[in-house]
C-alpha cells in the first residue's frame, strides 16, 4: 500500500486562494451594477477588456517563466487586478488606455517583482497611477451620471459605448457625455458656501447625500465590502481605520461649510474611489501591512493621505496615490507592529536580534 509521509495537519479547510479571489470578484458586483446604472456600460466594457488582457499577459509571463500556466491562472489573482483597475478607470475610456494600464499592472507591477505574493505595490493602483500621469485627459473624462442628462437625451447604449471605447469612426466622442465629478466641483469651488453649492449644482441637488450617482456607487462597494468582512476574507482593521481617519480629517476641516471648506465627511466617504479603495484596494494583503495593529496604522495613514491630497494636492482624487505611498511604508510599519506572542511580556521588533 502506498503509505505516504505527509506532514500534519491532515485536515484542511475548503477555502482556497481561487475561492477567496472569486469572493472578491463577487463582492464587486453591487458597485459594478451601480456604476453601470449611473454611468452606462463603460465600466463593464472596461472590466471585460482588462480581464482578457490580464489573463493573456499572465499566461504569457507564466509561459516565459516556464511555470505551469493553468495552475497559476487558476488562482484568479490576475482577474482581480484587472477588475479592480477596470472599476477604477473612467467608463468609456479608450481601449488602449485599458490595455496599457492592465498590461503595465500585470507585467511590470506584478511579475517583474516576482509574481503573486511578491509585489510590494498594489498592481491595479500602479496601473492606474501610470495612466493618470501619462494620459491625464483621458483619465479625467468621466461621463455624467444618469440624473444629470437633459430630458430626452439618453446615455449611449452598449454598442454605442463599445464604439466609443474602440474609437470606431462614426461613434461620438466621450466628451459629449462628460461632466465634472463631485470632487472636481468642490475643488473648483471658490466663492460659494457648501450649502449654496449643494443648492445650485445639479450634481449635488439631485443627490441624497453626496453626489448624484457617486453616492450609490460608493454604497455599492460598501455593501460588497461588508459581505467580504462577513465572509472573513479580510479583517475590519484596515478599512475601518481608513474610513475613520478620512471622516475625522474631513470633520476637522469642514470649517462649518464655508467657502473654504473641503467638504463634509459624508461627502468624502461617498465620493470618488473612497469605498472601492477602503474595501478592495487597501485590503490587498500582499502589499499592505501584516499585523492587525499594523493594518490600523496603515489604514489610518491612507485615510489621512487621501484627505490631504484631495484638499491640497493637484489631483481631485487620491486613493491610488495614498495607497501606493503607504505600500512603501508597509515594511516599516510591520517592523514595529509585531503582535505580542503568547508567553512574551511585550511584542518585539522584527529586526530585533536575540532576546
Amino acid at each position: 500500500m502506498a503509505l505516504l509521509k505527509i506532514t500534519s495537519p491532515h485536515a484542511h479547510t475548503a477555502q482556497s486562494t481561487a475561492s477567496v479571489m472569486r469572493l472578491v470578484l463577487l463582492a464587486t458586483t453591487p458597485g459594478l451594477i451601480a456604476l453601470t446604472l449611473f454611468f452606462g456600460w463603460g465600466s463593464l466594457i472596461n472590466i471585460l477588456l482588462a480581464g482578457s488582457v490580464a489573463v493573456l499577459c499572465e499566461a504569457a509571463v507564466m509561459r516565459l517563466r516556464k511555470r505551469p500556466v493553468m495552475f497559476y491562472l487558476g488562482d484568479n489573482s490576475a482577474l482581480v487586478t484587472a477588475v479592480l483597475l477596470g472599476l477604477a478607470l473612467p467608463p468609456l475610456a479608450p481601449w488602449w488606455v485599458v490595455v496599457v494600464g492592465t498590461s503595465f499592472a500585470i507585467l511590470i507591477a506584478k511579475h517583474l517583482y516576482g509574481g503573486l505574493g511578491y509585489n510590494p505595490f498594489n498592481p491595479a493602483m500602479v496601473g492606474y497611477v501610470v495612466l493618470l500621469i501619462s494620459f491625464p485627459v483621458q483619465m479625467t473624462a468621466w461621463p455624467a451620471p444618469l440624473p444629470l442628462y437633459a430630458e430626452g437625451v439618453s446615455p449611449p447604449g452598449f454598442l454605442a459605448s463599445l464604439q466609443i471605447v474602440l474609437g470606431l469612426p462614426g461613434a461620438g466622442t466621450v466628451d459629449a457625455f462628460t461632466a465634472a465629478t463631485p470632487l472636481d466641483t468642490l475643488r473648483q469651488n471658490s466663492g460659494l458656501l457648501i450649502a449654496q453649492l449643494y443648492e445650485q449644482d445639479p450634481l449635488f441637488n439631485l443627490a441624497r447625500w453626496a453626489g448624484a450617482g457617486w453616492e450609490w456607487v460608493n454604497l455599492g462597494f460598501l455593501l460588497g465590502g461588508c459581505f467580504l468582512l462577513y465572509r472573513r476574507v479580510f479583517t475590519w482593521h484596515g478599512p475601518v481605520a481608513m474610513l475613520a481617519s478620512l471622516s475625522l480629517c474631513a470633520a476637522l476641516f469642514y470649517d462649518g461649510g464655508s467657502s473654504a471648506s473641503h467638504g463634509s465627511p459624508l461627502m468624502h466617504l461617498l465620493s470618488g474611489g473612497t469605498m472601492l479603495g477602503a474595501f478592495f484596494i487597501l485590503t490587498d494583503p500582499v502589499s499592505s501591512a501584516t499585523s492587525n495593529r499594523g493594518r490600523l496604522i496603515f489604514g489610518a495613514l491612507i485615510g489621512a493621505l487621501i484627505f490631504i491630497i484631495r484638499s491640497w494636492g493637484s489631483y481631485p482624487d487620491a486613493v491610488a496615490f495614498a495607497v501606493l505611498l503607504m505600500n512603501f511604508a508597509a515594511p516599516l510599519i510591520d517592523n514595529y507592529t509585531l503582535p505580542r506572542t503568547y508567553g512574551h511580556k511585550k511584542s518585539r521588533r522584527a529586526t530585533e536580534k536575540k532576546e
Partner: protein
Amino acid sequence: MIELILQNPLIAALVALVGLALVFGAVLGFAAIKFRIEGDPIVQQIDELLPQTQCGQCGYPGCRPYAQAIANGDAINKCPPGGQSTINALATLLGVEAPSLDAEHGEENDVKTVAYIREDECIGCTKCIQACPVDAILGAAKMMHTVIASECTGCDLCVEPCPVDCIDMIPVPQGLSDWTWDMPPPAEEQIKAQRHPAEIIATDRGDKAA
C-alpha cells in the same frame, strides 16, 4: 585686525572656514573617543561564521587565515564544508550578493563525515596525528591510533598522509534525536508529480509487491 578681516571678505571667509574646520574637527575627534564602539573586528566575525574544519580547501592554512583573506577582499565562496549556508551568512555579514560555491575548491557535501581508522591496519606512524588540525587523533608512535569522533571536523586531512591507507571518511549516522523535517519541495515539483501520478503510485505499489 578685526577691521582688516571685516574689510577683506577673502580673509574673512578663510578665517571662518578654518574656524569651522577646527570646531568640527574637535567635535569629531571627541566623538571618536567618547563613542568608540568596541565591536568585533570583522575578521573575528567572519571567523565565527566559518565552519572551523580547518581543512584548507580554500587554499589557506585554516579558517582564521581565510577569514583574514576575506577581510582583505578575497572571494567568500571558497569554503566547501560550510557550503551555501555559510556563503549566505558571509554575504549577509558583508552586505554583498551571495555567489554560489566555487567548484574549484570542492563540492558541498550534505552528509557530514568523520575520519575512522581501521585499527588493525594502523601501523602507528603518527602521520595522521601530525596532520590533524584539531588534535582529534589519539595515539603514539608504534601504537595504534584512533579518532575522537566527537572532535573530528571531517576535514579529511589525515587521509592523504596515511602510508597504509587505513583511514576512511565515514558518514555520521543520523539518529532519532537529530532527525528533522525537510523543507517542503517547491510547488513546481509537486505539480510535476501530480501531473504524472501514475508513475508515483506505480512505484509505491510496486515496492509493496516486491
